[in-house]
Subunit: 351 residues, 2 copies
DNA sequence: TTGTATGCGTTATCAG
DNA sequence: CTGATAACGCATACAA
């Protein structure tokens, strides 16, 4: 009993708990049962008499016992830790997902182990091996670069949850977001505002989602009967610098454009600065819309119109799916749809 | 032996490594030595004959042996994992520090265990307990809320590295940043530009660093012979919303001001939007400077002047210090000084 | 239902 | 210098 101990030792009351060296064995002794019984109760492995369960629960409470995840891991049991492979630990977009994962895992007693792969498939493999050597109970991969087949193979021996792709397989769950539709919505928005010359700042062609957004853009153009001009599509790399550079490239073409759709908010922000540098005002001279709806986009000048991409929710869902996977259930989740968030960076084209 | 098994099963070769079940014992057998010897070589615990070392190294290489951190942890050895307590896993500022920590720890074979305490001392305590139960080799606390005494007590049983405070103690290393000087530099910059009515958007009074920045602001005013007007100091919470609200509050006072120093970039960005909403241009009508120099500040419209706060470096240094601490050395690092980064949001006051 | 014995992969403590 | 042997804390076949 913590209070009793404090009394005995006469130690100065403090919120610093001395490291709990309370073992399962001690609990067993206190409760007058065998260690296995305690283990059974802890894991629900088998049915035990209500009486003993009582005693054990009490012992656990008074002793303040907390299982040692390390020992559990070694014994072949679970480590209660989930590996999470993100691309950059400081990404403004994935950051929200990480928070979602953390929020979902924590109450369940699981700890996330975050690692960054920097868009590098080899590093992803290295990290997966590392995570397995640490005996994580499962791995969540946020938009990885690993090919689907490799992922499927991995999933045979360890639960996997992946975002950003459509996949199915045993021990594998995928959460895909409709990037095509997002691209469609963004472009439609601009078109409905009267714009007919819409430039597109593309994401890295290596990213499937970037390509899907481009296709959405093209589809919207087509359904509106507008011509698709490849010269108005500027390549980018999903970061601010790309947006800035894209404006230069765009202006250099001499083509007319009254609106820009950037494949993500970071590039949109860069584009806004590029426009500003050339004395072009947003939205008076050029309408601008991004994609992802980063928290910061609400505070850009002017606030950026965007396509909401529920990163936090996706994180929670991925973690939730993982929790179900590790407990043998089959995840059953629907990912939310992209939705347009019209703010001040886009406006109707003056007649 | 993995290769033999593969042969038997005739399994398709793939780049997905089947989980390395290569144990230290197998290495020992292959090398014709005892497990203890292998362990010694691995940890440099004792001197072994060059000959045996050769054999063991070879066995390790050919077998592709990789130590099991979990077993190491249980055996009382190190887990090669470092707990990192940040305040929000998706903070734009701390994100850079996390990356620094990751970059420094990874090559050393250590893994960070990131957890968020959300500026809550109780949660910090909970996380520390959790991390200890996971047998981390040390804990890095990024600007925690825990009181110094508690931290010192914890550090007696486990290496701690803390940022954002000045502390000393056994097994404890603190990396403090000179926020006062930063505040001084920012304000001086504005004064040198001819501004005499400088508002200050303060950070949360609960944060010591926020108070230090305020003091720097006051000191700069004083050394320039300018009067300190408390009405020009608006409270804030370090987030964008605060900046936005601060502008309203500032304007409501009716006081004159030609420049604003926000205690961090996030509030500066919010302030920029607030100014924009009132038709006030930055920097033509109001000069603005932030603090922290977030990566995104380079791309705000206009690019934000700020005080560079080397978050990434601090992360690396914290991790480096931890690495030294766990290996019994005494860290010897100097934290870099704040430096002014003048961009386009601040300009000379027209005569 | 419950207890006993064994093993998980390493490190650490002993003897030699 | 090196090799047995005992923990580390828990889960789990195997017995009872």
């Amino acid at each position: 009993m913590a209070s009793k101990k404090n009394l005995q030792v006469g130690m100065k009351s403090s919120n610093v708990s001395s490291h709990t060296a309370v073992t399962l064995e001690m609990v067993a002794q206190r409760a007058g049962v065998s260690p296995s019984t305690v283990s059974r109760i802890l894991n629900g492995t088998a049915v035990v008499s209500a009486l003993k369960k009582q005693a054990v629960d009490e012992a656990i409470a008074t002793l303040g016992y907390v299982p040692n995840p390390v020992a559990r891991g070694l014994a072949g049991g679970r480590t209660f830790s989930i590996g999470v492979i993100t691309q950059a630990i400081d990404s403004p977009f994935y950051g929200a997902s990480l928070r979602g994962i953390e929020d979902e895992l924590d109450p369940a007693g699981y700890s996330p182990l975050f690692v960054s792969a920097h868009w590098n498939a080899d590093m992803e493999v290295r990290h997966i091996d590392m995570l397995r050597s640490r005996r994580v109970d499962g791995i969540i991969v946020l938009t990885g670069r690993l090919d689907d087949q490799a992922l499927k193979t991995y999933a045979k021996s360890l639960p996997f949850v992946v975002t950003g792709r459509a996949l199915k397989g045993p021990g594998l769950f995928a959460l895909n977001f409709d990037n095509f539709k997002g691209g469609l919505l963004a472009t439609r928005h601009l078109i409905e505002l009267g714009h007919q010359h819409i430039a597109f700042i593309a994401g890295d062609p290596e990213h499937p989602d970037a390509m899907e957004r481009l296709q959405g853009y093209q589809a919207a153009l087509k359904e509106a009967g507008l011509v698709f001009d490849p010269a108005l599509v500027i390549p980018g790399q999903y970061h601010e610098e790309s947006g800035l550079l894209a404006i230069e490239a765009l202006l250099a073409t001499g083509k007319r454009f009254t609106a820009i759709f950037a494949a993500n908010d970071q590039m949109a922000v860069g584009a806004a600065l590029g426009l500003h540098r050339h004395g072009l005002r947003v939205p008076q001279d050029v309408s601008l819309i991004g994609f992802d709806d980063l928290p910061a986009s609400l505070y850009s000048v002017p606030p950026l119109s965007s396509i909401h991409h529920p990163a936090y929710e996706i994180g929670r869902q991925a973690a939730s799916a993982m929790l179900q996977l590790v407990s043998g259930k089959k995840p059953n989740l629907v990912v939310s749809e992209p939705v347009l968030v019209a703010r001040e960076s886009s406006r109707r084209l003056p007649a």
